[in-house]
Amino acid sequence: MSVSVPAPAGARSTYADEVVLPQDGGTAAVRRLYVPIDSGALSLGAEETAAAIAAEAARRGIAVDIVRNGSRGLYWLEPMVEVVTSHGRIAYGPVQAEDVAALFDAGFLDGAPHRLGHGLTEHIPFLAGQERLTFARVGIVDPLCLDDYRANGGFDGLARAAAMAPAEVVQEVTDSGLRGRGGAAFPTGIKWKTVLGTPAAQKYVCCNADEGDSGTFSDRMLMEGDPYCLIEGMAIAGLAVGATQGYIYVRSEYPHAFRTLEQAIDRARAAGYLGPDVLGSGRAFELEARMGAGAYICGEETSMLESLEGKRGVVRAKPPLPAIAGLFGQPTVINNVMSLASVPVILAKGAAFYRDYGMGRSHGTLPFQLAGNIRHGGLVEKAFGITLRELLYDYGGGTASGRPIRAVQVGGPLGAYVPESQFDVPLDYEQYAAMGAMIGHGGLVVFDDRADMAKLARYAMEFCAEESCGKCTPCRIGSTRGAEVLDRILDARAHHRPAGKELALLESLCDTMLNGSLCALGGMTPYPVLSALKHFPRDFGAQDKSAPAAA
């Protein structure tokens, strides 16, 4: 990831580890700034901001070292520039290129006040309240700098794992209580144990980085902002189960994350963290990033395996479990990016440290993602047990539009629409399941009071029809019929006709999809549809059974 900022003397515009001092023999200290290279920050102009800072510094004869970091996850402040001062890192944002000269005038290099200033980054309430275990380094380090990674606890977990017996590593992950962050919340250690216990000449670790759910971006942020964390987690998985080859399946919508990973893999291999002899353990682990090709269904694990094998992403029937017969028919660990990236801290600090976060059977932390119509969108890593209300108001600050929140879709396009009456239920896998919802990958998409829930239900069916792999009828045909039924419901609503018969049909169709689909695409598309219907019946032209009669 070479940065295209025209660098003045003394600026560091690539990930070189050494700062080039000014050639004029200047003695002034080199001022260090951080400008994110995260694709969300870039989407708001971070590249232009970095270039403007470099140019302005050159014009003023100030030597600057511009480090391109990941995002801290405060997207309403992106591009967020941080200046290193003797008190710590001070944040300014959102900084557009045209703000740069005024920031220099105000003395931002010394942390001086400015209307875009937010004080010490760590003290910004959105960040200060978080419990960042998986995201401990994201936004803090230079993503490709191995020294930065090591200086912040990187590779401690791998070093410990390399000195342990494989079964002990698996036990540690089991004891941590870590459950899969990709959606199904299956205990990670149990999955690893199956792979460890299945003898084979070749085993694999496959990282699911397909992150197709709307409202989610934590995998992307981590791959762009702290790629070694994922690499370390995968190497630990490889040592734990006896797999010597890993693949990261990255969606094609993430070209930037893909390039970062490729560079990080090369560097990790050159430094001995990957390759024939991982950290002197005498055991091999090779890793390769592979690009997906724009199919949502390839996030389903068996479809992902088909895709990695070079086939159409058609879902496989289970059994056999991928842990027994996965990639190329061999025992395979498949885990989400967040699951694997949580493993290094578990190994470094011990299972009990991780397990103590959370509630009930939901241990540890989850990086929640605040998206959609939200004032302070971004990433909030917190222990399980926090409520939607806290996330939406204390962190998110309510809607971006300033209007009331009507519904929140939790857990991606297959997740339920959660109404205000359920905002106080703790985010815990079991409690969410009990109310017919799911936490999934932790994405929260907020809608204000203008949302048309019947149209959103129609969209859910349309999306399922568009992305269905076509293997089973309830999904392939059912979703198309579902969209048609919803069209008739919308039409009836527009003409003030009763839609009772169509609504009954919709419910029975959803029932068929729920019970007759091979995978969760067909099987869970009814979740958003039925939750919208249940909580917002008037949008469908139905009677609101729960509403007060006089309303």
């Binding site: 580890d17 409202g215 989610t216 050159a270 090709a293 724009g294 199919a295």
Partner: protein, 187 residues
């Protein structure tokens, strides 16, 4: 210090330049891309990506080449090629503009942006403007949902898109095209 220098990416011709030249891509170049990857486990997607990256699309003559390299039928290769939304079997315009249609972007007025994009470009989804400049595609989440609504222009994702910002992006593309055309004339 111990970190090795950044390896520079392998230089490849820009896809836009090749796609714009409209000639059938050279068969031996295709064959070279296939041959360089055919020994990879699960080589199909890496091969298709390499071809699309260089040519901007996957030309039909690639199908029999891949089939014979991977010992598959043409129908199998074609089946894979058409399963994935990412691969183009028609040459796209000089630029590809993707507008996100997924929920988070909808919550921030994405539907209005979709309509605006179609009206401004005068095309529907999957169509290319008459001047060959832009192909418009729908996309379902760009992972930029904290900055909705989002679009992707070639490889660059852009967030918080208003009609004015959309216009500015298109103007930027036209400017770049004009510059390139100028350079070609000068060369």
């Amino acid at each position: 210090m111990s970190t090795p220098p950044t390896p520079s990416p392998i230089p490849t011709p820009t896809p836009q330049a090749s796609a714009a030249s409209c000639t059938t891509p050279a068969g031996d170049r295709l064959q070279a891309l296939v041959d360089a990857r055919k020994a990879l486990p699960g080589a199909m997607l890496p091969i298709l990506h390499a071809i699309q990256e260089e040519f901007g699309w996957v030309p039909p003559e690639a199908v029999p080449m891949i089939a014979s390299a991977l010992n598959l039928s043409r129908a199998e290769v074609y089946g894979v090629l058409t399963f994935y939304h990412h691969f183009c079997t028609q040459p796209p315009g000089r630029h590809v503009v993707q507008v996100c249609r997924a929920e988070s972007c909808q919550a921030m007025g994405g539907e209005g942006l979709e309509a605006y994009a179609r009206a401004t470009l005068g095309v529907d989804w999957h169509e290319t403007t008459a001047d060959g400049a832009v192909t418009l595609l729908p996309v379902y989440c760009l992972g930029n949902c904290a900055c909705s609504p989002a679009v992707r222009v070639d490889d660059d994702v852009r967030g918080r898109i208003t009609p004015a910002r959309f216009d500015a992006l298109l103007a930027g593309l036209r400017e770049r095209d004009a510059e390139r055309a100028g350079q070609e004339v000068a060369a």
